[in-house]
Symmetry: C2
Subunit: 136 residues, 2 copies
């Protein structure tokens, strides 16, 4: 397996809870962490926590791949800042359950390929199901 960790940064608790929800399906995960910006909390504090996680991963020889809720806002600002740090090469936005399951269950070694495949899976997972699915 490729030597990399994943970091999910979102407004509020949703990224942290998303990881727990994903673990309900695929089991406990060692290589993904979540950070949330809670209402009233300092962005500088979030940034510092993110930097510490990245530096720990890098010191262990592991890349950090960053996921954010949306492009725009403090969580993605922190994510984009992290690109200036050694060991961070990609920030992906629009995180959802399909995306996390895809990257956590893939055996793909190349990070860019991993992320492109995850994006495709997210697109395929956007299903709109209507009444034709059942007979009322």
């Amino acid at each position: 397996m490729a030597e990399r960790n994943f970091l999910v940064i979102t407004h509020g608790e949703f990224g942290i809870e998303l990881i727990k929800s994903v673990e309900m399906i695929i089991g406990s995960q060692d290589h993904v962490k979540g950070l949330g910006l809670r209402p009233g909390e300092s962005v500088d504090n979030l940034k510092q926590l993110a930097i510490e996680l990245v530096e720990k991963n890098t010191s262990e020889g592991r890349e950090t791949v960053v996921f954010c809720d949306i492009l725009g806002g403090s969580p993605s600002n922190v994510g984009l800042f992290l690109l200036s740090k050694e060991g961070v090469n990609y920030v992906a936005t629009g995180v959802n359950m399909t995306m996390l399951i895809s990257i956590l269950t893939s055996g793909e070694e190349d990070t860019l390929t991993l992320l492109e495949e995850a994006k495709q899976e997210v697109e395929e997972g956007l299903r709109l199901i209507d009444l034709s699915f059942i007979k009322k």
Copy 2:
């Protein structure tokens, strides 16, 4: 505005927290509720809570649009079951922050158009940002 409510059903707390995170950005929302299937909890209980919400909405003359984390698993099974209920016409899967912000801030009257526009916004919001964004 169209007379409709939104219901987000996910594994664990992530849908409930996603709503709170969205509210950090666009303010408090009256027409969206979240339900989560927590580890060890009964699917029948989740289904009953969902039915009660739908029936309340329908009795108030409001459509219920259902969002799920992924297609497959108990939350989406409950969502698909809800299509058999009066007032439920669509279940969308792959919910994320972009999707909820899109549907909660749209003035679109037609629900199918609303959901198709949200899907397109989610696809546009899947950004992969690399080192070229900054100069190391």
